[in-house]
């Protein structure tokens, strides 16, 4: 539904004429996010500067029943920011100040458009650590991280975004500004709306300020890699490491296609002939880090690693992690359409899940490369399609993913560990949650958003 000229005038009056976009050209870059195959032009893009402007835009939208899609950096992988029904895309990039870093209270207060890396760097500058570490950290915004409950490479030891959100300021679609939680770890006054908004994918409220817990920075970090004949062997090493009582900060694996794609980009001298690579890392006191790294290397060795090495220095470790973060885009060197999912299973079932993914890929004759956060059971099977216009291959890929989702649920896992449901996985959600819970989600959505204008076609719809 195109917006009327009056409505545009009122939007301009709220955020300033230069912060409203409406031509097809200006809207085009906002038609999609990092998810392939979803593309829809919004009718307007607005860039509010503060909470009051967000509230005024939302009030106007509710009044006129215009959909509003909140957007940070648009790096999500589940089409969560695609304006399925048109309407207004509300971008938070202007709200990008770090308001406070408090070393005494171990917390930060930030606006939603601050990038994850900017918050992490600011914490580091104060001798603190912001643990959530999504692969997209240099791009993604903290608001987007909270709204998707982003995970990342340090999930095993440190948990995910929700473990660090202490409090939120958020604007309801009807324009009221609420504050949930605060600066305290202990606070049980009322329902835990902080947790509810965390992972709500922009369907309940627009987050305008985040109070985030930080930790003291560890004294030292270390990283190593081990090569295995195949993912199953690597999976066994992961199980051995965890059952030996080690909880490392990082435990990531890549199969051979991923190793080769990453090596093509980063040129780190990784072994291209290995069937799988396990990246392991820990932080803490120097002694503890050395000890744990050596033990993990020994356990890999015992589990059938063909070779292992420890990174010499911080720069070496950082290079390995950076390369791992690039796995997904690097994979697109194999084919220009990459469909990635993040089925997650309980840790003891990783090896089984890996085997089943292989069988599914064979059955549907598709190419699936797998990498992921092994320690969390969080796999990223990625289907690579050579020709983006080959609808037949794309259908086969979708059929394969249907099977993968079903298998994940069957093994006691989830259709999405960290990337979210968005528009891409909404059709699969009912299979996991059941009818009763789906209806409850919808009623919760209506309580926050009676006109149902906020990010329609996603969670709660």
């Amino acid at each position: 539904m195109p917006l009327s000229t009056d409505l545009f005038d009122r939007l301009r009056a709220i955020v300033g004429a230069e912060h409203v976009r409406h031509t097809t050209g200006d809207l085009t870059p906002y038609a999609r996010d990092a998810t392939p195959l979803f593309d829809r032009l919004p009718d307007a893009v607005v860039f509010p500067a503060d909470t009051a402007e967000v509230a005024a835009v939302l009030r106007l939208a509710t009044e006129h029943r215009v959909p509003v899609v909140p957007r940070g950096a648009g790096s999500n992988l589940c089409a969560a920011t695609v304006a399925l029904n048109g309407g207004i895309v509300l971008v938070t990039t202007r709200m990008n100040r770090i308001r406070e870093i408090s070393p005494t209270e171990l917390l930060a207060v930030v606006e939603p458009g601050v990038t994850t890396a900017a918050l992490a760097d600011a914490a580091t500058a104060h001798g603190l650590l912001f643990p959530p570490d999504p692969g997209s950290r240099t791009v993604s915004t903290v608001g987007g991280n909270v709204a998707t409950c982003a995970g990342g490479l340090r999930g095993l030891k440190y948990g995910v975004t929700r473990n660090y959100v202490l409090g939120l300021e958020a604007v309801l679609p009807t324009g009221e500004v609420i504050r949930t939680g605060g600066r305290l770890w202990k606070d049980v006054a009322g329902y835990d709306l902080t947790r509810l908004l965390t992972g709500s994918e922009g369907t309940l409220a627009v987050i305008t300020e985040i109070t985030m817990a930080l930790l003291p920075a560890p004294a030292d970090t270390g990283t190593g890699i081990a090569y295995f004949p195949d993912l199953a062997h690597a999976g066994r090493a992961v199980a051995d490491i965890l059952s030996a009582g080690i909880v490392p900060a990082t435990l990531e694996f890549l199969d051979r296609s991923c190793v080769n794609a990453v090596e093509d980009f980063a040129d780190l001298g990784l072994r291209r002939d290995a069937g799988a690579l396990l990246l392991f890392g820990d932080d803490g006191t120097s002694d503890a880090v050395r000890r744990d790294l050596n033990r993990m290397a020994e356990l890999c060795d015992a589990a059938g690693a063909t070779e292992w090495t420890l990174a010499e220095d911080v720069a070496g470790a950082e290079a390995l992690l950076t390369a791992r973060r690039c796995s997904l885009p690097a994979l697109s060197r194999l084919g220009s359409l990459t469909i990635l999912e993040d089925a997650t299973v309980p840790r003891p079932r990783i090896a089984e899940m890996v085997d089943r993914i292989d069988a599914i890929a064979d059955r549907h004759t598709v190419t699936i490369a797998t990498f992921g956060h092994a320690g969390d059971g969080n796999l990223h099977p990625t289907c690579v399609v050579a020709d983006p216009n080959d609808t037949e291959s794309i259908e086969r890929a979708h059929a394969a993913f249907d099977d993968i989702f079903r298998t994940a649920i069957e093994l006691g896992g989830t259709i999405t560990g960290e990337h979210g449901v968005g528009a891409a996985k909404l059709p699969h959600l009912r299979a996991q949650l059941g009818d009763d819970q789906m209806q409850l989600l919808s009623r919760i959505k209506s309580a926050f958003d009676p006109a149902r204008i906020l990010n329609p076609g996603k969670l709660g719809s």
């Binding site: 976009r21 031509t23 097809t24 050209g25 200006d26 085009t28 870059p29 906002y30 038609a31 999609r32 996010d33 990092a34 998810t35 392939p36 860039f47 950096a73 648009g74 790096s75 971008v91 990039t93 202007r94 990008n96 458009g113 990038t115 890396a117 997209s136 240099t138 791009v139 990453v262 093509d264 980009f265 980063a266 040129d267 690039c326 997904l328 885009p329 690097a330 697109s332 060197r333 220009s336 359409l337 990459t338 983006p388």
Partner: protein
């Protein structure tokens, strides 16, 4: 499908957004449309016909892009953005959509050397702001060739005299001859075509590069990062070297001023760094002969960006001012440039603010005992 772009190159981007933090125009606006990913989505809209070539956003973004290619080395998918930009401008800037100044500049660059040497360049351009030939082209083709170890520019190699450089900075060419006396320096060289390739005439730009490759024997050494990247792309990396890849520093004395080593910093040439992967080499040279200090953001575009500083002076100056603040804060006597476009941009900006810092080309820095530093 309109066939503007190489479909394989255009489809390689998966919209992951990893290039966003590297892009100076996105940093300035926070608007997806002025990011590499956004521009690629605009190109796709042009390709599919969703947008017409005279769409205002297409016109605006095709010229607002600095062409600095900072988005290339950070792209894990290996998207050849520079090449896509050339194809975009070729199409977008046809006929009346071509910024008139861009047209004038490429005409000047195509004039026979004699005419240029008569000062045409200076005459055509606003006084004191002559454009330097090399500037930064957006070279097509393979994204990033890692710098290979280069044999010394011995027999058979030739020195390329950038056409605008010869007119605007004759001292640079002279210094380069002094530094590399073994090189042949044929007279009628012509233009390498980088400026054309960058300004919507890539076919001509490539033809000029090929012609130059035929005229100059052996390996071609240039003092301009922009020319180097463009030439390498057309005639092959193995035939091209930039000055810092071939200079032998062991023979050079320290640069000194007022009884101490000159304190020097470097401004990268975007195309040299992002296109050819050459950035360690000039740093190693400067560290060997002077007191080198890294300026934060030295790898980011100075705003000269080929014709950008002339086509979009306000934005260009905003970018430059931030950079000059950082350079002055580092306490350097001299900022070294490895591309004449950057040299002009930095020099103009430093003069304007009456700075004590001097902007000097690498070749001059290595031939002047005081590196061109202010002596008092």
């Amino acid at each position: 499908m309109t066939g503007v772009f190489d479909p394989e190159e255009l489809s390689r981007c998966i919209s992951c957004g990893f290039c966003l933090p590297a892009c100076p125009t996105y940093a300035a606006t926070g608007d997806e449309a002025s990011s590499p990913r956004g521009r690629i989505n605009l190109m796709r809209a042009l390709e599919t016909g969703r947008l017409d070539a005279d769409d205002p956003t297409l016109l605006e973004q095709s010229s607002a892009c600095l062409g600095c290619r900072a988005c290339e080395p950070v792209c894990p998918a290996g998207v050849p953005y520079g090449s896509l930009l050339e194809q975009w401008r070729d199409h977008q800037w046809r006929g009346r959509h071509r910024p008139p100044l861009a047209r004038l500049l490429t005409i000047v660059a195509s004039l026979p050397p004699v005419v240029r040497a008569m000062g045409w360049g200076r005459f055509v351009l606003p006084a004191g702001r002559g454009i330097d030939k090399a500037t930064r082209p957006a070279t097509p083709g393979t994204p990033k060739q890692p710098a290979q170890p280069t044999p010394p520019a011995g027999t058979g190699a030739s020195l390329m005299l950038g056409c605008f450089e010869r007119a605007m900075f004759p001292n640079v060419s002279r210094a380069a001859r002094t530094l590399l006396p073994g090189l042949k320096v044929p007279d009628d060289q012509g233009c390498c075509g980088a400026l054309h390739a960058h300004n919507g005439e890539s076919t001509k730009g490539r033809a000029l590069a090929r012609r130059l490759g035929e005229r100059l024997p052996g390996r071609i050494v240039t003092t301009s990062g922009g020319c180097a990247a463009h030439l390498a792309d057309v005639i092959g990396r193995d035939r091209v070297a930039e000055l810092s890849e071939v200079v032998d520093v062991s023979a050079l004395p320290e640069r000194r001023v007022a009884g101490r080593r000159v304190r020097v910093t470097l401004q990268d040439s975007c195309h040299l760094r992002n296109g050819l992967g050459v950035w360690r080499e000039p740093r190693e040279i400067l560290s060997a002969v002077a007191d080198f200090v890294e300026t934060p953001g030295a790898n980011e575009c100075c705003g000269a960006a080929g014709t950008h500083s002339l086509l979009r002076p306000i934005e260009s100056r905003r970018i430059l001012d931030r950079k000059l603040d950082a350079i002055e804060a580092g306490g350097a006597d001299v900022v070294v440039a490895v591309n004449p476009g950057c040299l002009r941009q930095l020099r103009t900006g430093l003069r304007r603010r009456k700075s004590r810092v001097r902007a000097v080309h690498l070749a001059e820095f290595l031939t002047k005992p005081d590196g061109g530093a202010r002596t008092r």
